[in-house]
Symmetry: C3
Subunit: 312 residues, 3 copies
Amino acid sequence: MFLGALKLEFQGRDIVSIEDFSREEINHILDVSSSMEPLSSKGSDMLKGKILATLFFEPSTRTRLSFEAAMLKLGGSNIGLDSEIASIKKGENLADTVRTVENYADAIALRHILEGAAKLAAEFSKVPVINAGTGAEEHPTQAFIDLYTIRKEKGKIDGLKIALMGDLRYGRTVHSLAYALALFNIELYLVSPESLRMRKDVLQTIKTKIPVTEDANLETIMPQIDVLYVTRIQRERFPDAAEYAKLKGAYKIDLKTLHNAKKDMIILHPLPRIDEIEAEVDNTPQARYFQQVGNGVVVRMALLALVLGAVK
Amino acid sequence: MFLGALKLEFQGRDIVSIEDFSREEINHILDVSSSMEPLSSKGSDMLKGKILATLFFEPSTRTRLSFEAAMLKLGGSNIGLDSEIASIKKGENLADTVRTVENYADAIALRHILEGAAKLAAEFSKVPVINAGTGAEEHPTQAFIDLYTIRKEKGKIDGLKIALMGDLRYGRTVHSLAYALALFNIELYLVSPESLRMRKDVLQTIKTKIPVTEDANLETIMPQIDVLYVTRIQRERFPDAAEYAKLKGAYKIDLKTLHNAKKDMIILHPLPRIDEIEAEVDNTPQARYFQQVGNGVVVRMALLALVLGAVK
Amino acid sequence: MFLGALKLEFQGRDIVSIEDFSREEINHILDVSSSMEPLSSKGSDMLKGKILATLFFEPSTRTRLSFEAAMLKLGGSNIGLDSEIASIKKGENLADTVRTVENYADAIALRHILEGAAKLAAEFSKVPVINAGTGAEEHPTQAFIDLYTIRKEKGKIDGLKIALMGDLRYGRTVHSLAYALALFNIELYLVSPESLRMRKDVLQTIKTKIPVTEDANLETIMPQIDVLYVTRIQRERFPDAAEYAKLKGAYKIDLKTLHNAKKDMIILHPLPRIDEIEAEVDNTPQARYFQQVGNGVVVRMALLALVLGAVK
């Protein structure tokens, strides 16, 4: 029965949505990411001669630099366009842009303000398209990074109690992550203001697979949870400044919030943070968000090597 | 009689205007482009250690990415500045910028809003300057790409009937292309609104060399032509929105327009297109504009390799 | 007595302020720069696999391109963000940006509008931080370039008579340069408008070490000086346009100004210039400001190779 092994085919594949990946495929991506750790420091020629085009129609320095570093560490190189320049080019549709850029590059990493942009790009592109964040829905590479960080820090994913906190409605990283976590045997806790609760469609899907505690109280669950995943609450989501200030304050992590946390609990955050995690937390043993950034490079190395056929 | 061969000297040469090149030299550039096809997919170290500076004082993602991809595929690398940044630097003159950047790079690809900018840059620069589009007049590398695509698709250039359509007055690609085509034994048809007719100076030059049919009717010539070169008609050229809408509609290609076209006619476009070619045309056997984009890379590989002395 | 040799340790070191360097260390950096001259033209793999992140929160095309060229000539590569993009990312503090980017790169070149930014970044960064210009105070790599150019052109630094001219108050290059020159046995002449005199704190420090003539008259000192270092006088420094026009005219170099200069005197300028050196001066034997730009690459190659441990 080689069925599982036979299904794992990544070369030429698009990375559009986390929902396209099985638990087995995710585990394989995490294994390959792990094998990239030594190459991340000593370098490799695995992707020599390969070019990644980073098409960022919405700015995201962090994600772009992470993809570029991943490519360079595997011996490849980068070309790209940024939102400022792209915005000038108004008029051309995404399909034409993709059919142009596929002539210049071996893969495309696409960031776009519109949901569905990566899917559309993948349909038109001859080369693999990697979704680097689109709309409010999908950010699959960040989800792989989150999973990798959890597995690396905790040694496993199954059996953990994981809390997602902050803006669960518009924050795109939590949607991709929630879908992925639902493939593992975990217990999920959702901590957010009423108006920023997890989207109904996401919630419905994951509730059929794992136990989910909605509207959890952070102080109450703190002693039990193994992973606390914090996200930003953005000013723009609130018409009322006073309302924003009040809510923001209630979803902030500081040393006091952590007083009853497990010693080996870990705090993650997709970054950038504004002030939802106080600087005093940075030096606690629980803080892992900067390590998470570093993991971003090896996970993207793995994804690039896989879709470009450099590893199986 | 080694006369021809002796004249072909490209190392260190600037690519400022298509008018600086003889028919023999153009053919040589197309031959070298052809030899770049295999290197485009498998890569090369031909320009290892060489640096191209892309100075784009006017945005053009497509042309910049194409040059960068060409450089990378030959093992070289890129540095560059974009219009946004450059605009901040106001105050410094182009001559000083060039005398600075020549210290950082082995060649310069320059895009500028002003005619004559590439010529000026070439006069001051110790390293070869390649005109990547200046003013409304010159875009020589695009002309080489157009010629290469015609020769590759039709097997030859001599003997063809070629129509240029759209904005023949301000569109810079058609001027460079018209000059170049006049060196071959072709018949030229010009199809454009009254107000966007081919510039007088260009017309005068080419009419002394090849038969030119001005103000041709597209439907009438469609059954005879071998190449249809379409360009954008830009809104900004018209004070009157209604006038623009009317004209634009008359210079649009769709399946109906093509009903009496030759089966082996080819449609080219320098891209980006807005809506002058309908999406339904993309899957016709005539559509070649996305292949044309791909040819941009091999032609620019050839030009870079030639001026940097990596090939003869 | 290996004392001196033992002190010279550059691997992993930050380049924040010129004041952190001894005369011996500066001389060593200039020697290593000299050894980079052949590598600058023929290339090297000394930094293969290494990545420099250029974080430019204030635009400076020249400095950024110079760092990037240096990295490429040593076989390394670059990732970076520009001020336009960075400005969007408002909200994240510099410490977080640094702790993110250190995961992507082996060294960081930082340009920032605020004094102290490089120092702060160096405190948080695991990888070496190179100050690429911060606030009005420090631009240490430019100072190394200036010293290198003087030593290369004049064969030595000790014993020279050097004039600094223009905006000595706000121009950041002259502060770093003045500190560095004070470590050598030189005579310094300061030529500037009353309102743009050298900052008091800088002046006090250097006057304890070398003879300084304040408020020198350019015509009087011209026959004696070996080096004339010219800087821009920026419009923004003056509330009054008439005052600006008058002063600017008085601190301009043309052929007439140079009539009584030594034949082997050299003119330097950190560039970009506006009009404080007339174009007619460019072809005099004294003009060395474009060579100075070229020296920027070898000096930055040396600094990168040193802090990344590729040379001792």
